[in-house]
Symmetry: C2
Subunit: 478 residues, 2 copies
Amino acid sequence: MHPLFYPKNIAVIGVSNNKVSGMKYVIALESFVRDGGAVWPINPKYPELFGYKIYPSLFDPIIPNIDLAIIAVPARFVPDVCRDCAKKGVKFAVIFSSGFSESGKLDLQKELEKAVSESKSKTRFIGPNCLGIDNPFSNVHFYPGMESKKGNVSYLAQSGGTTARLMLYLGSQGIGFQHVVSAGNSVDLSATDFINYYREDPKTKVIALYLESIPNGREFIEAIKKTTPIKPIIIWKGGQTDVGAKAAASHTGGLAGSYQIWKALAKQYGVILASYFEEFAELVCAFSVDQPLPKDRNVGILVAGGGIGVEYTDLCIQYGLNIPPLTDNTIKRLAVQFADVNTSFTNPVDLGEYGYIPNYFAKALEIVASDPGLSTILFVKEAERFKIFEDILLVKDIEGMTIKTIGEALKEIKKPVICSSSPNDQRIKFYEARLNFKNKMIQNNIPVIDYIPNACVVINKLVEYNNYLKKLEKLGKD
Amino acid sequence: MHPLFYPKNIAVIGVSNNKVSGMKYVIALESFVRDGGAVWPINPKYPELFGYKIYPSLFDPIIPNIDLAIIAVPARFVPDVCRDCAKKGVKFAVIFSSGFSESGKLDLQKELEKAVSESKSKTRFIGPNCLGIDNPFSNVHFYPGMESKKGNVSYLAQSGGTTARLMLYLGSQGIGFQHVVSAGNSVDLSATDFINYYREDPKTKVIALYLESIPNGREFIEAIKKTTPIKPIIIWKGGQTDVGAKAAASHTGGLAGSYQIWKALAKQYGVILASYFEEFAELVCAFSVDQPLPKDRNVGILVAGGGIGVEYTDLCIQYGLNIPPLTDNTIKRLAVQFADVNTSFTNPVDLGEYGYIPNYFAKALEIVASDPGLSTILFVKEAERFKIFEDILLVKDIEGMTIKTIGEALKEIKKPVICSSSPNDQRIKFYEARLNFKNKMIQNNIPVIDYIPNACVVINKLVEYNNYLKKLEKLGKD
C-alpha cells in the first residue's frame, strides 16, 4: 500500500467552483505538490478555477500515471469514474462521494459494487462516503490547513468526522500518527486490509479503529488474532446499543452486529474496547507512549492535597482497581525524607504543598514506585498552579524542573507512571499551562489524563492487555 | 449569619512574615477594605509587615467590634485564641489552622472542642482546617486575586482545595455563587447549619455540598428533608469507598459512614449525589440555570454529523435514557423544512452541515422539541468549527446568531434543552471558541456539558429530582 500513503501523482476528479468544499483536496495537497509530486484537478466544465489549471479528463495526454485518485463527483457518476480509473491504471482511488447504501440508495450501491468488482484488479478503492488518506509523513491531508502530527499511531475510522477528530484531539496534545484512513463504507479495501498493513509496518506501535460495522467477519477476526500478540488494537465501536446501531446504519450503511459479540471477540483476542471518544483517545495516548505494562491492578496514588487523594481513591476502587497499603519500608523511607507537615504516608500518599517542589516530588515518586505491592503509579499535577507555587514555595521553573526530575526518576522505575492534571480554572491562561505541561509530559512518555474515570479505565485496559500477552506466553510455553 | 458573609470588621490573627501564605487573608481582603470595612492584622511579633500596620493583640484598644476573625496561629495556640475571640465578643471566627484530629492529634482536638464549647455562646466557629468564607457580593475572598463570580449557587465543602476548585471551575464557565463556605472539620458550625441558612436565603437556587463526614446525623437529615422540596441539594461525598473513606479520615478527621447509607438517604429525600468533581460541577451548572425539569427519560438528540449522533445515542442508552423514535408529524415537519442532503430525520436527528446554519438549527430544535414523545433535547454544537462553517456555508457570525436564534426558540420550548460541545482540537484558539460559546450559552440558561457521560448523568438526575418533587406533590394531595 505504499503508493497509497506516499503517492507521487494525485488526480482529483470532480473539483467544483466552491472554493472551500469543491477545491479542498486540491488546496490540501498543495504542500504535497511542493514535495515533488503533482496534483491533477479534473472537471470538463472548467478550464481554470481559483488560479489552478483544471484538466478535462483523466485521459488527458498530459496526465501521467496516477497513484491516487480522489473521486468527488455526484454519486450517480461514481461507477463510471471507477471504471475510468481502472482503464487509466490508477493504483488507488478514494471515493469521497456519498449517496449509496448509507442514504438508502441500494440500487446505486449495487451498481457501485459491480463497477468496483470489475475494476479492482487494476485499481483498489477506499470509500465511498469517506475522506480517504491522511499521512503526516507524506503531507497528504484531508483538509487544507489540517495539521497532522507525526507519530506511531496508525488509525482507521469508518466515519470521516471521527477520523479527523482523533487526529486533532491527540495531535494537539502531542500524540502523532503514522498512517490514517477514513474508510467510509468500504466497498473494496476495508478495515481488515489496513489492520494487516499496519501490523507489518514497523513504525506503527498502536492500531486505533473506529468501526460501525465489519463486512468480512472471518478475515477481520483472523487479522486481529494475528495482530494483538504483536501490537495493541484499540477499537471504538459505533453502534454499541440497538438504537445506536440503527443510527449507525443510516450513517455508514453497514450492519453493526451485536456489541455482545464484539465484547466476546475483544476478550478472546486481547482487543482493547473503548466506549466513547475521549476514552478512546486516552487509551490510544496511553498505549502509544513508551512505558511497560502493569502486571496487576494495584495502584499507588501520589497527590498534593487531601481532597484530591480521596477523590482518586474513590474512583479507582469504583473502577475495580486496588489501592493497597504501602509496605512499612516505603512508609519509613517517606518519613525519613519528608517532614510530617500536612502530609500523609498511606496510599494515597499526600505530600501537601511540598509535592510541588520538583526534586521532593521525584524522590517521593521513586520511593512509592519501588514499593513491591504497587504496579502502576498515578500522580496528580495541577499544572495551572505551578506559577502560584513558585511564589509560595520560592522555587523556580516548577514546570521545567518537574518534567526533568520525573524524567530522571523514570529511568529507574520499571512500572507504568500516569499523570492526571485535575483541572480547576477554565480560563485561557490556566488551560494553556495545563496543555503545555501535557504536551511536554507526553513527549517524555508520560500520559496525562485529565478525567479521572478515564485514567481508571486506561489502567484497567493496560492490565487486561498485559494479562492477554501473559496468557499467550504461557500457552506458547505449554 | 449575615455578619459572617457581610462582615464589617475583620481580624486576621497570626499573620506572618511570609508575604504569600502568611499575609494572604490580609491581601485577599484589601478589596473588601475598599468597600468600607477594615481588616485588622494581628501578631505581637511585628509592628509592621509589607507596609501594613500589625496590631499586637485582639484587645488593642483601637480594634473595634469584630464580625469575623480569621485564626491562623499554630494549632497549639488555637484553643486560647478561641477563648480570646469570645472575650472580645467576636461574632464569627474561622479557624484556618490545621493539626487536630485530621493529623491524629486527638488531645489537641479535645482541647479545641472544650475551648469552642466554652466560647460558642459568644462566638460561632468555622473550621478548623479550612479556608472560611468567600462571598462574591461582599468581596470576602479566600485568596488574593480569587475572582468569585456572582450567582445563585450556595456551596459548602469540607475540603479547602475542593471549595476553591468548584468556584474556579464553574466561575470561569459562567456559573456564579451566592455564599461559599470551606467548613473543614466543623468543630462548631457544620454543614447542617449552612443548609438551613441556604434554604431560607431567597437568592440561593441550588445548594452544593462536598462532604467527607457528618457530625450530627439526625439534624443533618432533618435539614435536608426540609430543603429538597424547596431547592435542590447536590452532594459530592468524599470517601465513597472504604479505602477512600480511610483517606478522608486522615484528611478531615471525620467518620465517613457507609456510602450505601448516603445513597439510601439521597433516594429517600431527593438529594442529588455526584460521584466525582466534574460530574458534581456539571450537575450544579444544570440545576443553577433557569429551565424546567424533564418529566421522564425520553431524550431527543440533535446533531450535525452522523458519527456524533451514533456516539450520543450509544451513551444515552447505556446510561439508562431512552431515544424514542420521532412521531410521523415531527418527521413530516422536518422533511418539509429541510432537504434530504446528508440529513437523517430519525432520533438522533442529523442535520448534516446545515445544522450549523443558525436559523435552520433553531427551527429544527423547535420542531424536535415539540415532539410529544420527547422530554429533554440534547444537541451538539462544535463551537470550535463555527469559523470554518462561516466560510463553507457563507453565513456570518454563527456564534452570535446561534445563541440569538436558540434563545428565541427557547421561549416557546417548555422542556429542558442541554448543549454538548464535543471537543476536537485542544489548541488554544479552538478551546477559546468553545469556552466563549459555553459562557454565553450558560448566560442564556443553556447548560453546555462537554463530556457525554456527564450529560447523560445530568439528564438522569434532573429526571430523578423531578420524580421526587412529583411524588411529594402526590403525597400532599392524598
